[in-house]
Amino acid sequence: MSTTIAQKRGIGSMLWDYLTTVDHKKIAVLYLLGGGFFFIIGGLEALAIRIQLIKPANDFVSAGFYNELLTMHGTTMIFLAAMPLVFALMNAVVPLQIGARDVAFPFLNSLGFWLFLFGGLLLNASWFLGGAPDAGWTAYAPLSTTSPGHGVDFYVLGLQISGAGTLIAGINFLVTIVNMRAPGMTYMRMPLFTWTTFIVSALILFAFPALTVGLFLLMFDRLFGSGFFDASMGGNSVIWEHLFWIFGHPEVYILILPAFGVFSEILPTFSRKRLFGYTAMVFATVLIGFLGFMVWAHHMFTVGLGPAANSIFAIATMAIAVPTGIKIFNWLFTMWGGSIRINSAMLWTLGFIPSFTIGGMTGVMVAAAPADYQYHDSYFIVAHFHYVIVGGVVFGIFAGLHYWWPKMFGKILDETLGKITFWTFFIGFHLTFFIQHFLGLMGMPRRYWTYGADQQLELGNVISTIGAFFMAIGAIVFIYNVIITTAKGEMVSGDPWDGRTLEWATPNPTPHYNFAQTPLVRGLDPLWIEKTEGRKGMTPAEPLGDIHMPNPSILPFIMSLGLFIAGFGFIYQIDDPRWLIVAIVGMGILLGAMFIRSVKDDHGHHIHKEDLEKGAGL
């Protein structure tokens, strides 16, 4: 029945549906599309970087354009690809895992997505409007305050808008997990992916405001003549570094913890064993999140904060290896003695464990402050953070997509293509980045657009570039897999993996109210408990009744559009004050939409019991 409805609906109504949706499952799809789009752009930028470095004194791109490429590669991958893809998984899974019908703030959920998308579009609009930002993804002052043109202005405004979206999404998940859990779903029965989402949301809440302030100060310096980072006015450029890293270090845990959560879901399912050391895993997650705020200055060892500060931050950094090690061993012990099934999701998980461990060990190496003076700003650092971000976060996203694809889209991704993707990407990843450790130790600095023929750096760079192309092939095969599966794949049941957690208790496709009756949770891995006792589904916690659902709204889109327009106004008013009119119009659209949201009652709607029995809303 649902397919005939879908066929009858035109493209227009489908588009309107997605523009106005407040359903977490559709917002997950939007995040996946947006994040996937920017992942491709960031990947193309990476390929251009690697082509430029394939031989000494290459002139594939100019030095200035290279700076733009590397800045945008980093900024895009962190803010516009990795984070939204992680949010796609969270939105698709977390409400189902806790037995909720939606998130706590469906309207804000939609607003968070549109702010991210318009922020990303504003940032990338710089390519067509006189050049992209070129001060590195860290945008250190005074390089960023004196960078000519409007590139860095687009960085400031684009990240400000998408950062606001991220903050909103973080608060939404925090409240969802505290308030919306099904009866019996105590904190210590929550699946690990929900736990990591919870901790990550807290990190977002306390880390992103530091970025907000940093970006405001940078914006004021560049566009409104203030002197925060201008030494001639008494300013201090190290303030930017502190603000950036007070945000920036928690940010890397914001990325990696959800990936940890994904692996902690996949391993029990495909080992047919409960997660080893659940309590320790929760404890380790909380501890990593807490310590994540105590280590930002390890990015600034060479700034000259002094031996006392450097020592404290070095020790705090090394301490994070302990909870991370707890996790690694618990994953290994989860597999120990299990009845293991190896498929694409498991392959990514198995590939992750050694890859991430290498990244973690180089992390302890660079945490040693005296040694860091050698590694700092060399390719050793580039190799280290790609091992943790690609080997951890990207592997986690691929694993999660393979695992939850049948939940999100009703079909299992093709296994053969999935394995081809894994092996090409996995081999390409190690080819690209393993050699970069040695390039760094040989003295190759980060962010330089070229190197000399007499520096013996050529072989390593050739290998690295070849590896990058392997990764690109893997990514292309994955996209092909998605297209083939969407076109030809067969619908599977709601529980294709013989799953353990609540998301597998919903039918396929999941109705937009998720659960007709809220499930009763009787322990960790609630669906598995029901299965072991011979039941096919969850025991309901309530009789069948009317279901209250939120109304769709176009306002989040309009608000974000208003900020997008205002962004251009703020950027160009420094050239011509008349652009301030554009800024005022944009802010007017935003505030007007907020006013409408405030004064217009939105009570949501009810799905009636009689309609539920007829299968409405499927």
Partner: protein, 207 residues
């Protein structure tokens, strides 16, 4: 009809702001938001403290600030926080008219505070030629205090909108959480001002 009934119960609950799931979510979500706002202001305070001495000339904190005006502003804002507490007290007793009166007094006090702040900035700019662009100290001062002033302005617009929107229909369980979190916001603004008064003005005069 059932919706109407749930939002307008015959007996108003003790904590109308948390009586519905939406209200509970708003309450908790707003507390989290204030946690984020705390970090935002902490960063601004940190920046201000780092740049406090970077005056480039005679316009130092000691020369500029007059505690008399700032003391009056502090009293106005502290009192407005108290009046918003009275408003919430009447909200819990389901006395809409009195709640509106006390919210109205809160708004008047907030407007007076904002007026004095604008006068203060105007005074510094015209009499001392001390602007946002004078020095890193100037940038940090106007940014920290200005962010707070912006919050006051937003809070006033928010409370006025709520008062006007609900003037004719009175309290119910749909708008009670809205009033409550607006008052939470107002308290937060007040707390931030206590720190600004201490760190910027008192320490500026004494330090």
């Amino acid at each position: 009809m059932s919706q109407e009934h749930t939002l307008n119960p015959e007996v108003f609950p003790d904590e109308p702001e948390k009586a519905t799931l939406e209200g509970k979510n708003k309450f908790l979500g707003f507390w989290f938001f204030l946690g984020g706002e705390t970090v935002l202001f902490a960063c601004l305070f940190g920046t201000y403290l780092a740049l406090q001495g970077s005056t480039v000339g005679e316009n130092t904190a000691e020369n500029l600030f007059g505690l008399e005006l700032v003391f009056i502003m502090t009293m106005l804002l502290l009192t407005s926080s108290l009046t918003s507490v009275y408003a919430m007290y009447h909200m819990k007793n389901n006395d809409f008219a009195k709640m509106q009166v006390w919210l109205g007094i809160t708004v008047v006090l907030g407007l007076a505070f904002l007026g004095l702040e604008i006068y203060e900035f105007y005074h510094y700019i015209t009499h001392y030629d001390f602007t946002f662009r004078s020095s890193a100290f100037g940038s940090a001062f106007y940014t920290l205090v200005g962010f707070h002033g912006g919050h006051v302005l937003f809070g006033l617009l928010w409370i006025i909108t709520l008062m006007a929107r609900n003037a004719k229909r009175g309290l119910n369980l749909y708008n009670a959480p809205k009033f409550y979190i607006a008052s939470l916001y107002w308290h937060f603004i007040d707390v931030v001002w206590v720190f600004i008064f201490t760190v910027v003005y008192l320490m500026g005069k004494v330090g």
